[in-house]
Amino acid sequence: MENKMRIELDALPENEGFARVAVAAFVTYRNPTMEEISDIKTAVSEAVTNAVIHAYEEKGGRIVIRCSMQDDLLHMEVEDSGKGIADIGQAMVPLYTSRPDLERSGMGFAFMEAFMDSLEVKSAPGKGTCIIMEKRLGNLPWAADGE
């Protein structure tokens, strides 16, 4: 069975927590472990925060989050129409940040990569960025929550 959802929200710091909780709630019926929930929340937070800070430079804009569950596979896309990334390879290097002035640490992509099974970045300067991530959830729907 496939199950899909889509959220469109303003690129505001106030919505970062909402985005995390919304995606976590969407996957709840699959009985994910606490760790899987934390991994997904971290990945959502990183992608949404990047849209708020980098894509729209904290001036606001729209973010679209699309999720689908195909059996145990979560597919998630976080898309903005902001300034885009000129050099994706450089952006993904751990500890690289274009905004050290804002005390960013350059760990966002590294965390998305570590906590999800796959990460793909599509971007074009002036057009926007789409982050595509997937994660297979280990528990079967009828399995008990836990380790």
Partner: protein, 102 residues
């Protein structure tokens, strides 16, 4: 002042919120930096007792406070971080700069 920030024996103790993200970090940074100007403060302690979530924004806050306090020979300590928080700190290389207190 609420007990989120306390100065005890030259240590600035910061009780971190339940969720450390871009939004909550702004406030922590602003207040911490104001208090660190206080000449009584020589070291900073981040208390993770209440913290259930942290993203890369938290790494920036800890690294930034480390940069400031280490200029004066001070240290950054972390207490009550659970295994996930420790993993995140380790991945970012921060464990080489900070000390765990618990």
């Amino acid at each position: 002042m609420d007990d989120t920030f306390q100065i005890i024996d030259h240590y600035l103790m910061i009780r971190l919120p339940e969720e450390i993200d871009h939004r909550s970090c702004r406030e922590i940074t602003r207040k911490a930096d104001a208090l660190m100007l206080d000449e009584q403060v020589s070291h900073v302690v981040f208390d993770f007792s209440n913290t259930k979530f942290m993203d890369s924004s938290g790494i920036g806050v800890l690294a930034g406070r480390y940069r400031k306090i280490s200029c004066f020979g001070g240290k950054v300590y972390v207490m009550h971080a659970d295994s996930r928080m420790k993993r995140i700190l380790r991945m970012s290389g921060l464990t080489n700069l900070i000390e765990f207190m618990d």
